[in-house]
């Protein structure tokens, strides 16, 4: 990868009172890759994600996204960068007072001047991207199931064709078939839209099928960052247990079976 990384974290420290979450953490996300972020519960995955997208101000260190230093840059540059990424929160974070369609079209309405009918068509297209039927367009988020809300949230994150997509546990709470469909969708979107994805996940199947590289958050920093095969060589108990445990093996076997 000779191109400059899309996201580059340097010397990130995060402290909440006495509690140290991250210490001198470095991370690079390259263009065009799907990066998985794993770590034990409480290891600060969500805090790291929130730090990158600017919801949590790091105690020390710098965050550069698409070449913009998110702390030094002016508000205008920061906002422009923010428009080039999409974020899918765990529960979808749809605005409950808007219909699903209005939710998806919301960034279009705020940031672009395209006509209303085209706006609706674009929103409808994104809805079909994420595999939702056109009938949910007029529904309210409270009328959808958790999985559908997540998909609708993804459609909203995708509506401005972001270069960078952050996903917080996208397959958690989905049934295995829906999770698999989600993985396929992600691969297809990546292929066609030149997306770069950073996802926090605990889904081993997702890690095996979609992630190009996996970052392991342990010991308050990125302990290892490699392909899964590379990680298997890392001598760290948690990583070994994670991938060599019964679930890890099952996921690995199913991938090998699928590849043959």
């Amino acid at each position: 990868m000779d191109a400059p990384p899309l996201v580059s974290l340097r010397g990130i420290c995060n402290r909440f009172g006495d509690q140290v979450v991250h210490e001198h953490l470095d991370l690079d996300i390259c263009g065009g890759e799907i990066l998985g972020l794993i770590g034990a519960s409480g290891s600060g995955k969500s805090v790291l994600l929130r730090t990158i997208i600017g919801l949590n101000r790091q105690t020390e260190g710098s965050v550069r996204v698409m070449g913009t230093d998110m702390d030094a840059a002016g508000k205008k540059d920061r906002d422009r960068t923010r428009r080039r990424w999409g974020v899918l929160f765990q529960g979808g974070a749809l605005f409950s007072s808007l219909t699903v369609g209005e939710n998806i079209a919301f960034p279009l309405r705020e940031f672009t001047a395209i006509s209303e009918s085209l706006r609706r068509d674009v929103a409808m297209l994104k809805l079909s991207f994420v595999g939702l039927p056109a009938s949910v367009y007029k529904k309210f988020p409270s009328e959808l199931s958790g999985g559908m809300r997540k998909r609708a949230g993804l459609a909203r994150a995708l509506v401005l064709d972001p270069d960078l997509l952050f996903l917080d546990e996208p397959t958690a709470g989905l049934d295995p078939l829906a999770a698999e469909a989600f993985d396929r969708l992600l691969l297809e979107l990546k292929k066609n839209l030149a997306l770069t994805v950073c996802m926090v996940t605990h889904d081993l199947d997702s890690l095996y099928t979609v992630c190009d590289r996996v970052a392991v958050l342990a010991e308050k920093r990125i302990y290892a960052l490699d392909t899964i095969d590379g990680l298997l060589q890392v001598d760290y108990p948690w990583i070994q247990e994670y991938f060599r445990g019964p679930r890890g093996r099952a996921a690995a076997d199913s991938r090998r079976g699928g590849a043959d």
Partner: protein, 403 residues
């Protein structure tokens, strides 16, 4: 933006001779409005109009209506100079092509290869999604809404009556077996709804007593009937004001918190967990709250009566120079117990209405956290409404029995 400067401008040019539309720069959601506005005008201006006019798409507004195109002219959209294309742009190109083809005009995209072809395929026009039903004629729409509102109100009232029935059923169960009553939570809610409300109720009714006495005294002074200010204060405060003010404060404080508490439990599936354990949520959640309110509201109203009389006495003393002893003597002379009793009789009914409505709406919370807020507001409005309605009914009743 240091590493790359993404082209953010769109240029489009129409070559009339070979009907070729050349796009260059970036065709993204940011630049799309230009093309959306420019395209119809350019096409209309450059293509010699023939009588064969396209039927304009029903969904587009007049401004962006399909241009009048010649049937035979094949249009080439040249994308070779295009630096960036996003899904919205691809969708628009596809839609334009589709509309042209629908009117018998060929449309070819040039330079659509590689990943761009994938994008164009992916952004195929969505199944046009006729999700909207037929729009109703406006008065019919109003009528429909009115009907829905009436039906919903009736259904809600019936559900409230059913809820009252369930409450009585649980209460009857407690009378049969008093150990079922959760004494701890009853005492807890008595503290919450009663004791904690004392300062605000006392202060408010003290002020109301002063205001009533002050206004009455000023009016009666002009007739030389000062002393009747005491009578006026007694009847107004004991019969109506203290009760109403206290009930409204309690509806705002406790009724709303009942809805919010039970609603949060409902949203968190705690109520379902209780049911699944074979426990009666009415017994555990509703009875202690409503009983606590029924027990404490009369006490609060008594306090309110006293505070209002005190406030009134001070105001009368200040304006009319009738001191506390004279005030009490006059109060003894006029205070038939009726007014006080009338006020007190009403309180348990108000408490019942406030408590039931508060709890009832708590159970109506479903799923989203938004509905907790909505239903809390609704509960306060409805309980205040029902308190005033009940008060009016009591006024008629007590007049009829000459009390």
């Amino acid at each position: 933006m240091e590493n790359e400067t993404p082209s953010t401008d769109l240029h489009f040019k129409f070559e009339r001779e070979d009907t070729r539309l050349i796009l260059s720069g970036a065709l993204t959601v940011e630049t799309l409005p230009q093309l959306e506005k420019g395209l119809p005008a350019i096409l209309r201006a450059l293509v010699p109009p023939l009588p064969d006019v396209l039927p304009s798409d029903s969904r587009t507004t007049g401004r962006t209506s399909t241009p009048d195109l010649v049937r035979s002219a094949p249009l080439t959209i040249d994308l070779r100079d295009l630096k960036r294309l996003d899904t919205a742009g691809a969708l628009f190109l596809n839609q334009t092509g589709q509309r042209l083809r629908a009117s018998g005009c060929a449309c070819v995209c040039q330079g659509a290869d590689g990943p761009r072809a994938g994008l164009l395929r992916l952004a195929g026009p969505p199944d046009t999604g006729k999700t909207e039903g037929k729009a109703l004629f406006f008065p019919a729409l109003l009528l429909e809404r009115l009907g829905i509102a009436v039906c919903e109100a009736a259904a809600m009232f019936l559900a409230l009556v059913a809820f009252f029935g369930a409450f009585l059923h649980s209460l009857a169960g407690i009378l049969r077996d008093p150990r079922r009553l959760r004494l701890t939570s009853l005492v807890f809610y008595m503290e919450q709804t009663g004791l904690r409300a004392v300062p605000i109720v006392a202060l408010l009714t003290f002020l109301i007593g002063m205001v009533v006495a002050y206004m009455g005294a000023r009016q009666l002074q002009t007739f030389g009937a000062h002393i009747f200010a005491v009578n006026l204060l007694e009847i107004t405060v004991l019969r109506e004001m203290a009760v109403l003010i206290t009930a409204i404060v309690v509806a705002g404080r406790s009724g709303s918190s009942f809805t919010a508490q039970i609603g949060a439990m409902q949203a968190n599936e705690e109520v379902d967990a209780l049911r699944s354990m074979g426990l009666d949520p009415n017994l555990l959640l509703v009875v202690p709250r409503v009983l606590a309110l029924i027990l404490t509201l009369p006490l609060l109203v008594f306090l309110a009566d006293m505070m209002a009389l005190l406030g009134g006495a001070l105001a009368i003393w200040y304006i009319l120079d009738i001191d506390i002893y004279a005030f009490i003597t006059q109060l003894y002379a006029v205070a038939r117990t009726n007014n006080f009793l009338v006020g007190m009789i009403k309180t348990p009914f108000f408490a019942l209405a406030i408590g039931l409505i508060g709890c009832f709406h708590g159970f109506r919370v479903s799923g989203s956290a938004e509905s907790v807020g909505f239903l809390t507001t609704l509960a306060v409005v409805q309980s205040i409404f029902s308190v005033i309605l009940l008060d009016a009914l009591f006024a008629i009743f007590f007049t009829a029995i000459r009390m």
